[in-house]
């Protein structure tokens, strides 16, 4: 017989629910807790007797119709998924054979636009880490970066950081916590890329960099708020990932000593994007010396490998496929 009131209550509730005991029998069994137990069981009875809220029949029907509509839309995209799998096989073959980023990026661009069509590229916009289309999304981001100038890189890395945050939010909402690390890694890469691009701009055009930094700071502040809010939602096992993302700023403190390509979580286990050249191919940036003090994280590449992100580095968000 338990002495703990919480256990006694639980025991009584189970016994009453299964018909093994009546309320009175339960109270008689625990005379020392009779008064408190009676009050708790009375409350439980009130809860049980209160009519449970139910959705309106009209809502039940209309919501089901809308849901089935969603299912139909999903079925229509299954052809795109098959084409994407084919596309992934081809790009992986080229990566293994030549290990050349440009070829991979060209394949991404050509196949995304010609073979699978603009529809796939468009559809990939909502893809999350772990989705078949996610590598298309990040591949297209890589194409954008490849053809942008340094100033364009800043806007793009900023945009990609926002996208990674949106992906984190959506993954958490869908309880897909196993894919969260890929989004966090992508975010860290974007922040690192942003820092590198800002450092390059500061060297080339300090006045413009100063103006740009105000915008970047505002965007970063907004992202910090979103990430902080996510801390309330994620279960304990995923907290660390969000905390890591929160620590991935501010950009001006990071990346200055972060060399080489920003690490990428592309599922290949080496922290580098698929199709990217090995780190030793990344040359030092012109005029960029090693920083006096580095705040780079432990997984940051050595400063001597630093290269401008628009030359040898990937978009910063390696696909997880």
């Amino acid at each position: 017989m338990s002495e703990n009131i919480a256990d006694i209550l639980a025991e009584c509730l189970e016994a009453i629910d299964t018909g093994k005991m009546s309320i009175e029998q339960c109270l008689e069994r625990y005379p020392q807790h009779r008064e408190e137990l009676a009050s708790l069981l009375k409350t439980q009875q009130i809860l049980n007797l209160t009519p449970a809220a139910s959705p309106r029949p009209a809502f039940r029907r209309s919501a089901q119709t809308r849901l089935l509509g969603q299912l139909a839309a999903q079925e229509q995209s299954s052809l795109s998924y098959r084409l994407i799998n084919y596309w992934q096989m081809i790009t992986k073959y080229f990566q293994r054979s030549f290990n050349m980023r440009w070829i991979t990026l060209a394949i991404v661009a050509v196949l995304a636009t010609l073979s699978t069509g603009a529809g796939v590229a468009f559809a990939s916009g909502d893809a999350l880490p772990g989705d078949a289309l996610y590598s298309v999304k990040t591949g297209l981001e890589g194409v954008k970066l490849t053809f942008s100038g340094n100033n364009g890189d800043i806007d793009l890395y900023n945009e990609f950081a926002d996208k990674r945050i949106e992906e984190m939010q959506e993954l958490i909402d869908q309880d897909r916590l196993e894919d969260l690390p890929a989004a966090v890694q992508g975010y860290e890469n974007s922040v690192a890329g942003l820092a590198q691009a800002m450092a390059s701009l500061a060297a080339d055009d300090p006045a413009r960099a100063e103006a740009q930094s105000a915008l970047i700071d505002a965007a970063r502040e907004n992202r910090t708020q979103v990430l902080t809010a996510l801390l309330d939602k994620v279960p304990e096992q995923a907290l660390q990932g969000i905390q890591r993302a929160l620590e991935a700023g501010p950009p001006e403190n990071r990346g200055q000593g972060r060399g080489g390509c920003p690490p990428s979580n592309n599922g290949n286990g080496n922290g580098r994007p698929e199709g990217a050249g090995p780190p030793e191919n990344a040359g030092p940036p012109e005029g960029a010396g090693p920083p006096e003090e580095s705040n780079a994280p432990e997984n940051a590449g050595p400063p001597e490998n630093a290269g401008p992100p628009d030359q040898d580095c990937p978009p910063g968000e390696g696909g997880s496929e």
């Binding site: 509730l13 809860l47 999903q74």
Partner: protein, 187 residues
Amino acid sequence: MITQKLPDASDNELLIQAAQGSKTAFGELYERYLEHIYRYIFYRVADHNEAEDLTELVFIKTWQSLPKQKAQRKTIGNFRAWLYRIAHNLVIDYHRSQRRSVPLDQLASQKDPQPGPEELSQSAQESQRLANAISKLEPNLQHVIIYRFINQLTHTETANIMGIKPGYVRVLQYRALKKIGGILEKE
């Protein structure tokens, strides 16, 4: 092979079929859990219209996640727990958006039900009164009341969904009943 009738199929069987594109299987899951999820949300937001919108969103998000389960040949260990977690996250977003849009000094008055009592049936009034009482509890006590006494889950099922030990569910259940009893008494 004899196809199992859907109402007899387990959640995981339905989930696998739904991930393969079976609308019927997903419809069955929807029917099976609509009331549970709706009640969970209603008693946390105390608003029928918001509860309907959020309930629909839970199932949409569930559906959106299914292709990924299919692609990775994965099954969801506990579909019910998964649904409740998705609902939980949406409720958190809802409360956050409410806090942002409503000044703090108006929050207390906003706890009252939106339709007047004359617009609600007797049973709806009682549900609304209970929802208002539940909304005054701390979140983990709200969960226990909803899972245990509204959706009639066992201690073990509640523990599974909340990701805590059954022993702790018993402790929370005691605290929750004590606290909500006091709230209902005052009203």
